[in-house]
Symmetry: C2
Subunit: 175 residues, 2 copies
DNA sequence: TCTAGTATCTCGAAAAACAAGATATATGCG
DNA sequence: CGCATATATCTTGTTTTTCGAGATACTAGA
């Protein structure tokens, strides 16, 4: 996955620098717009997550665990406990609840039989990787049909970089 | 706020349509890239939120409530209870906990004195609107310095539209 | 093999959420 | 105005969830 070719042509190794015809004011305006709109995007995502947790009728911990498994992939109960800062005993019963609803499955680790692997089950009517309802994918496709290819390249490039940036920040803040 | 001038020049009222020189394969490739990278961005944001909740040492419900207040602005306990699908009594003690830590404040509603207004307090060292650590803003500014103005316009435009799309989806899923 | 280390699960105690009722304020009707 | 009804928050007793510590099962190295 990470070896995929960079979708944007320009290299981004350094700022453009060339077009600095004193247009700093315009750039500042754009920065502010991106900050504001980025916050709105984040708010929209949080609202959507919130709606999903209500829709699945999961308490905040259970949904957080489920979302974590969707995002990071299968994990052991110990890893979940560490990541969520929960006691291992709490994770045991938490997984019991998720398993009872068919949202996750437990498997024994093939090499170390002390370990258990918890993985989210496939849910029909959802985006496989995220568990999000399919409507979101269709809405985004509709949105993207309004952009030219070169614009889509810029967007894809930004998404990839912004995602990496946030992940790095989260990792840094985690200790 | 919504009356701000559209940062992108083109109107987006209809798909570009002109450049359809049989390059559907390339578009499909871009769609897939955006889907994948968008999921990664969402994952990064979730990781960051997760790290923030750990950093603030709040249990999932308390953090969810705090994030909600940051996003939606001041609310009454009743609105919080409705939005989070919590009993009003649970919200009372939840707010007690947040208030004891100085994260939120209670005020009486000026017109209806039965009501209480809960609002997040200003936190030094954080982005005022979101409560996110300032590092995120700096990292994003650094990222954006690599893009040209016209590219930034495309990004800002997409952010605004995608945020609206997600918010609408969340509202639709909420009933 | 024996011992130490690791991963998960079980059990009693503390914390959080719920449901229902109490208190205080608002609104509308005679 | 006086009273009844409605609304918003807070309190109380019960159920659910989490915690902390220890039990069980497995791994790895001396």
């Amino acid at each position: 996955m990470d070896g995929a070719p960079d979708t944007a042509g320009s290299d981004r190794s350094a700022p453009p620098a060339g077009n600095g015809d004193g247009a700093g004011r315009s750039r500042d305006h754009l920065y502010l717009a991106i900050q504001t709109d980025g916050q709105r995007l984040a708010a929209g995502l949080i609202r959507l997550l919130h709606a999903m947790s209500i829709g699945l009728d999961l308490n905040p911990s259970d949904f957080q665990c489920y979302a974590l498994l969707r995002i990071e992939g299968p994990m052991t109960p110990g890893e979940i406990a560490h990541s969520m800062k929960l006691a291992t005993g709490s994770v045991t019963v938490l997984i019991d609840r998720l398993e009872a609803r068919g949202l996750v499955e437990r498997d024994r680790h093939p090499d170390d039989r002390r370990k258990v692997i918890v993985r989210p089950t496939e849910m029909p009517g959802t985006v496989p990787a995220t568990g999000a309802p399919l409507g979101i994918r269709d809405a985004m496709l509709d949105l993207h049909s309004r952009y030219s290819e070169s614009e889509l390249e810029v967007i894809a490039d930004w998404l990839a970089r912004a995602g990496r940036t946030l992940t790095e920040l989260a990792a840094g803040a985690h200790r």
